[in-house]
């Protein structure tokens, strides 16, 4: 009879056991904040559909200190999402060959962050124009 009895170790709490996994869980966790923001906007959209009074009520609610704190937290979390999204990009994209050489990971991450900066400035510019 075989004396073999392979032991399978449990996975409980694996994400706490390595700093790399802790960071992974944190950046996965940014999804909660992305969802919270999308729901905030959805409420705003529904209020917009209900007419001027409802919309102004939503705007008023945005001016509370609690809302400011909430959005400050959202801002930090979603900024972290932006950073980690582009940080992992060199591992997720097919190799980009420029002039016969593979683009360096730092260049891809940097390019992504630059694209985010440009997109954000364009968005700010557009809103600024609409506001005038």
């Amino acid at each position: 009879m075989s004396k073999r009895r392979p032991y399978v170790r449990p996975m409980d709490g694996w994400w706490k056991k390595n700093p790399y996994f802790v960071e992974y869980m944190v950046h996965e966790g940014t999804a909660l904040f992305v969802a919270a923001y999308a729901f905030t906007l959805l409420v705003g959209l529904v209020r917009l559909g209900q007419g001027e009074a409802a919309w102004n009520g939503w705007l008023e609610a945005l001016k509370s200190p609690l809302s400011l704190a909430f959005h400050a937290v959202l801002l930090v979390a979603i900024l972290y999402h932006t950073y980690t999204w582009f940080k992992i990009m060199p591992r997720t994209l097919p190799p980009i060959i420029v002039g016969g050489k593979k683009l360096a990971p730092a260049t891809i991450t940097g390019g992504g962050l630059m694209a985010a900066l440009v997109a954000s400035l364009v968005l700010l510019g557009l809103v600024w124009r609409i506001a005038q």
Binding site: A31, A35, Y37, L41, H71, T82, V127
Partner: protein, 122 residues
Amino acid sequence: MKSGLKRSNAPIFWALFGGGGMLSALVGPMLVFITGIAIPFGLLLPEGAMSYPKMLAFAQNWLGKAFVFAVIALFLWHAAHRIFHTLHDVGIHAGVAARLICYGSAFVATLVSAYVLLGLGF
């Protein structure tokens, strides 16, 4: 080659996850700043930028509609997929309940936003 392989339907959810992840990475922080901080508190942008007539006109323009729809729906599909996987990561496995809560809420929110946006007219 192994036999009895079943094709995964993940590409649908993965594509939505990727689209929403990219959109939120590009403009998420700035949007939060604009709608949650700058306009309500009159920083950088005038408070009137989100007045009822302005926002209504924005949501009635087809481009504005598309943008609002993409942001709400894709952000939520992105988050739903990530949260679903994180539940799996912490040991709550792909049950019907987890699927329903994550993708179901994204689906309902997508329908609601489409309904309101269409109701606002063009």
